[in-house]
């Protein structure tokens, strides 16, 4: 949290995706007020989130929230590609799956919990780094459509490996590793306690959010957004577009991999369909679009909407068999959101807020 404290000292604020260099002429006092207001809101939200496990004892809610946090990180990493660099990947789930399988396999095969956990993280970061670099080098110098297709192809290879290498992965059935999860990781973390896992996911989300926020607002992040707008012009300013896209690809890949590690801890089970399939990439694509492409908070809101609505829509099956096909209902939710929030929930709200502000200015 050091960074936020430092940042709020100047004229830009938490969570504000459009850090425009607003001239500080009029209403400096007002600015400060809204700034602190924003800060207070954030602190309250964070306190509430940290208090949740003390207030809610029902494990299923904790489980739902935990998964929202993890999917948020996964969607945030996807948004770095789609929203901030302007490239579509159809294979992003391979990084997520690599992370999940790394944790699952080390949990099953490595007796020492700490060593296994660190090894899983090391493997995930290493493999995702190299893989995203290679895939990027193969495809990013070509047109964006090739990138989409090559990521799809490579991701499919990983699905096939997970399905066929039965001795290692148990094939399509996947495997459960609840029994081998550490109960005293580093002496104080019980991976079978839902509250502990909740805190891991929450701290993970906050950490990744801050990392991404800093990255987006770094010179590299700004260059990526320019690439999204006009690639040719960025090159003519002396930037190597390929290198920047590679950086974006690697950061997104490693971040998705880490999200996979935490996801495996949460669901204690891996199978090709649950962590590797192309549908998982489509899921984060939906979350990003629903929340708002190219906004920092969008993927978090999107993950929340998708997870909560699918949770309750699935539950409706008990009321009437027509709700067995809950995906159709989800389709309706999706269409409604796109109708009323064409730029995603956060994106549309940002636009409205901005245009209001501009109108206010011109009236003065």
């Amino acid at each position: 949290m050091k960074t936020t404290a430092k940042e709020t000292g100047t004229s830009y604020t938490n969570g504000n995706t459009n850090v425009l260099p607003e001239p500080e002429r009029k209403g400096r006092l007002l600015d400060l007020k809204s700034l602190t207001g924003k800060r207070v809101t954030w602190i309250i939200i964070l306190l509430l989130l940290f208090a949740v496990p003390l207030l809610i004892t029902k494990n299923s809610y904790l489980f739902l929230l935990t998964n929202i946090f993890i999917w948020s990180v996964f969607a945030m990493s996807y948004n770095l590609l789609l929203g901030y660099t302007g490239i579509i990947s159809f294979g992003h789930a391979m990084f997520f799956g690599i992370g999940a399988y790394s944790l699952a396999l080390t949990a099953r095969h490595v007796p020492s919990g700490e060593f296994g956990f660190l090894l899983a993280i090391l493997l995930t970061v290493g493999i995702c780094f190299v893989l995203s670099l290679i895939v990027g080098l193969l495809s990013l110098r070509l047109r964006d459509t090739f990138y989409a297709l090559i990521t799809l192809a490579v991701a499919t290879i990983f699905v096939i490996i997970a399905e066929q290498w039965r001795s290692m992965t148990m094939g399509n059935d996947g495997f459960n590793f609840t029994a081998t999860l550490s109960r005293d990781l580093f002496g104080f973390i019980n991976l079978l306690d839902r509250r502990h896992v909740y805190y891991i996911a929450l701290i993970f989300l906050i950490a990744m959010f801050l990392v991404l926020k800093r990255f987006i607002h770094s010179p590299v992040g700004r260059t990526l957004q320019a690439i999204r707008d006009n690639e040719e012009r960025v090159a003519s300013l002396g930037f190597s577009v390929l290198n920047y896209k590679l950086i974006s690809n690697v950061v997104a890949g490693v971040m998705a991999g880490l999200a996979g590690v935490v996801y495996a801890i949460s669901i204690r089970f891996v199978s090709p369909a649950s962590v590797l399939g192309v549908e998982k990439t489509i899921d984060v694509l939906l979350m990003t679009v629903i929340g708002g492409v190219g906004t920092l908070l969008g993927p978090i809101i999107g993950a929340g909407v998708v997870e909560v609505s699918s949770h309750y829509l699935m539950g409706l099956a008990n009321i009437h068999p027509i709700f067995e096909r809950w995906v159709i209902m989800f389709g309706v939710v999706f269409i409604l959101i796109i109708l009323f929030f064409p730029a995603g929930i956060v994106g549309t709200i940002n636009q409205k807020y901005k245009s209001k502000k501009r109108k206010g200015k011109s009236h003065e």
Binding site: P219, Q225, A226, S236, L237, G238, S240
Partner: protein
């Protein structure tokens, strides 16, 4: 082609005694299928010179620029920049060597603010490339330099607007501000005043005059407004149907019969042969 002798007659206010070549093309050719857009053009531009390229529409002027700045690779021929072969280099490497260009078709970053458009150019110029963990406003001086460039084209008040909200003429000015901020030793300007309203043009001319009078960089200008070209240039090259028709001082070019007939028609039949 012996362009050197022609260029030695450059206009009087080209005071430099050192006539060092900054960029030189040798028989550079670009074909698209059967169509040859640039046909064996050998042109030399001297250091600190203000040179213009004129020619009717479709003469290959912009294609020639694309070959110089790297957006296109020549089909054949060579390009030397300060004695170094550059025709195989991608655009960003040529920019780093010192070749900056503006575009005829407005080519800015629409969703970014006006300031950010220019700030990126300054960032590129200062080689701040792979900084990932610092806030971009840590580099405060970049912003100040960008604001200076905006000041020069009178866009400073619009600095916090998204570029897409600018009027067409203002976008053209932004285009020039980006190039100024890039601060390269060779400036390629592709019709900087195209699409501007008449009252905006003098200001751009003034900007160009100022750069010329500082005499610290080389300018290559594509422009249709002949008065403007005559007024600014040390030398003028004429392209016609992809070929180099003439190259010399403004007076020579204006009195050149071939050039006159190229603009009035008549040469079209010859060019076919």
């Amino acid at each position: 082609m012996n362009t050197t002798t022609k260029d030695a007659k450059g206009q009087s206010h080209a005071k430099e005694t050192t006539k060092e070549k900054i960029i030189e093309t040798v028989n550079v050719t670009k074909s698209f299928g059967g169509h040859t857009a640039v046909n064996a053009v050998s042109l030399t531009i001297f250091d600190k010179e203000f040179k213009s390229i004129i020619g009717p529409n479709g003469a290959g002027k912009t294609t020639f620029f694309n070959l110089l700045s790297g957006q296109m690779k020549p089909t054949s021929g060579k390009i030397h920049f300060r004695g170094k072969e550059i025709h195989h280099l991608p655009p960003h490497k040529r920019t780093k060597l010192g070749i900056g260009r503006s575009f005829q078709i407005t080519n800015v970053f629409p969703t970014l603010t006006v300031l950010e458009n220019v700030r990126l150019a300054v960032q590129g110029k200062h080689n701040i490339h792979y900084s990932m963990f610092r806030h971009y406003r840590y580099y405060k001086h970049l912003e100040e330099e960008a604001l200076d460039a905006l000041e020069r084209v009178n866009l400073r008040e619009k600095s916090d607007q998204p570029a897409s909200a600018l009027a067409h003429g203002e976008k053209r000015k932004l285009e020039i501000a980006i190039l100024l901020a890039l601060d390269t030793e060779l400036l390629l300007l592709d019709e900087p005043t195209a699409g501007m309203s008449i009252d905006e043009v003098p200001q751009i001319i003034e900007v160009l005059e100022n750069i010329r009078d500082q005499r610290d960089r080389t300018i290559l200008l594509i422009e249709h407004k002949i008065d403007l070209v005559k007024h600014l240039s040390d030398s003028i090259a004429v392209l016609f149907h992809g070929k180099q028709l003439a190259d010399g001082s403004p007076e020579e070019i204006m009195n050149n019969e071939q050039v006159q007939s190229a603009y009035l028609g008549g040469l079209y039949d010859d060019a076919e042969n």
